[in-house]
Symmetry: C2
Subunit: 341 residues, 2 copies
DNA sequence: TCTTTTTGTTTAATCGTTTAAACATAACCG
DNA sequence: CGGTTATGTTTAAACGATTAAACAAAAAGA
């Protein structure tokens, strides 16, 4: 790795002090510097292709212009889309993003958090893991600016930008009911994560509002961290074997939907006649499935942008202790999987 | 942002110099330091929850333990999967990854490259953009370790880990031919990028080897950067309107395939009877399409791991000027879209 | 002419580490 | 006992920037 040109190199070439070079290149003390000298410095900097060492700058200024992004898995399309939007928004403000996947594991999340803090990131955008309350405390104790996305802990006061998951599920069930569905089922994860809890709660409330009796047999929870595929398959199999099988399923995430659809497809289950479907999040597959899928679209762009803006605002004005807590509305995109043609 | 504990804090609390603290915490001069003092320092560090400032460390050591990843678009599942693998591989070696999306634009790519270089990344993994040869020169001139993935410039000597795209296409055409296909078409991008050029070349060679006369009408190139969707649709429409329409299509990327499939689905084109299909890369949709898709699977894990390892090796031993250039084999996953059941 | 102000530049400290070299003090040796 | 060696710790420079403060010289004012 060839050594980069430093202020010193320019200074010695021009025959001035590094201080002067720094002043000139940062357009400071503009009135006081001899024009010829300033010009000479600028030219030399250009000639030598000078670019400031951001590490040195960061150390001195106590600011890295770096944001840390902690998600469950960057290869999950939901998070990678979010990452892209955050990247663009950060870039607009001259920030760079470092990322890490925590695999829904509070310990990994904690490790990443430390790694990023050690690197002096100016702030963090986090999709926290289950049981990640302690991590949050660490962030708060150390006054590290951060925003949560996708989920949050209702008992901890933090900034967050999330979907209104309760309302989204509710909307889904109402849509089912309007279409004549009598026994909708829910396939979700077994987890305490607030966003998923709310999805379930909304589902249950939806049943109530439509006068459908809640029966736990219609609400299946699969392992969150592993065996998801086989458990989703098992869940569907169990549902379909019920004396009165459900006539609709709401999948609480894109991953669940994907596994579920594979099963449904492989077993020639007729959608929507035999089973109407709604999924959280869109899949590539959503409109390619023989019965294009009705789904709840998250406003990913808004989430990413608001989260980044909220974070940057916090970084710029650490005093502002007003919390930003935004629950955005999901759009129900209606297609054939709930619409017998 | 609360200030972090520094070596100085520990030093003054214990009553020794920062040097000693540094030696102790880095387990250096182990023989020479009084055990009680060492213990005291370690305890105090623990108590105060000391964590070294990586920025300061980076500045001093001229090493950041950071890798830069430049892809076309982090939200493209191909690249986000790669990103995840690179992340894990980097993490195993105590590196962190910063990423940027260049949108297949050499200028954006150049900007990212500078941003990352300014931040003193130890090396870069790059999916270079069309006309990105100059960027490559910059990297070489400055002795910045880097590896290319997915594509490379055959005229520039660099490290790269890519798919053997020529062979992959060839394989696809042979498979078509074996299935009785007479007039396979190709839908690809209009670009000089080597990987896509090779995909085309392999396709053409496949035709030749199977005694099919090459006809430019069966090889459609869509805009790379925008309007891809409409151009793919137009391409398929044109193909199907030919006096002798193709009986198969090879899509040269996941995005092309996605647009193509939507068109095919919307227009009730029968797969594989009317049109057999092979795609580069898997989609969520691949096995959910009513005729599950035959596709060319890239060894993403291998690409990511080899690229990271190659980069780290370069960083550790900059003298080693032997080039790593690896073309990996695609696996043809055969399913119904080329198999009338 | 002597102060005061303005103009232009340098000095030196600082950010938080690392590390060669210097410096004490104690132990060993002939 | 004087000189060497071993042991334990500190000093100080360095990484590459920023910036308050000091400084010097020229211009303005009294």
């Amino acid at each position: 790795m060839k050594k980069k040109i430093s202020l010193k190199d320019i200074a010695s070439k021009v025959g001035v002090s590094t201080a002067l070079v720094s002043y000139v290149l940062n357009n400071q003390k503009s009135g006081r510097i001899r024009k010829e000298v300033a010009l000479k410095i600028k030219q030399t900097a250009q000639e030598l292709n000078y670019r400031p060492n951001q590490i040195a700058k960061s150390l001195k200024l106590q600011k890295t212009f770096t944001l840390g992004l902690i998600v469950a898995d960057i290869s999950n399309p939901f998070f990678s889309s979010l990452a892209r939007i955050i990247e663009d928004e950060a870039d607009k403000n001259k920030y760079t993003v470092i990322f890490g996947s925590a695999d829904e594991d509070a310990e990994k999340s904690c490790k990443l958090l430390h790694t990023f803090h050690d690197r002096q990131v100016d702030g963090l955008i986090i999709a926290p893991a289950e049981n990640g309350e302690d991590n949050t405390k660490y962030l708060l104790d150390n006054g590290i600016p951060f925003v949560m996305i996708d989920r949050y802990f209702p008992d901890v006061e933090t900034n967050w930008i999330c979907l209104d998951n309760y309302e989204a599920s509710l909307k889904a069930v109402h849509h089912f009911a309007k279409g004549g569905i009598k026994r909708p089922a829910l396939v979700t994860y077994k987890t305490k994560l607030f966003n998923l809890a709310q999805r379930k709660k909304g589902f249950v409330e939806g049943l109530r509002e439509n006068g459908i009796i809640e029966d736990p047999a219609y609400c299946r929870e699969t392992s969150f961290l592993k065996n998801t595929k086989t458990e989703v398959e098992a869940a569907l199999e169990a549902l379909l074997k019920l004396p009165e099988p459900p006539d609709a399923v709401l999948f609480a995430s894109n991953i669940l939907a994907l596994h579920g659809l594979r099963y449904i497809h492989a077993n020639n289950i007729r959608v929507p006649d035999q089973l109407a479907l709604i999924t959280f999040d869109e899949l590539d597959a959503s409109d390619l499935f023989y019965a294009p899928l009705t789904f709840l679209r998250q406003p990913i762009r808004e989430i990413g942008q608001l989260a980044t803006q909220c974070l940057l605002a916090q970084i710029d004005k650490p005093s502002g202790d007003a919390l930003t807590q935004i629950a955005l509305t999901a759009e129900l995109v209606v297609r054939q999987s709930t619409h017998p043609v």
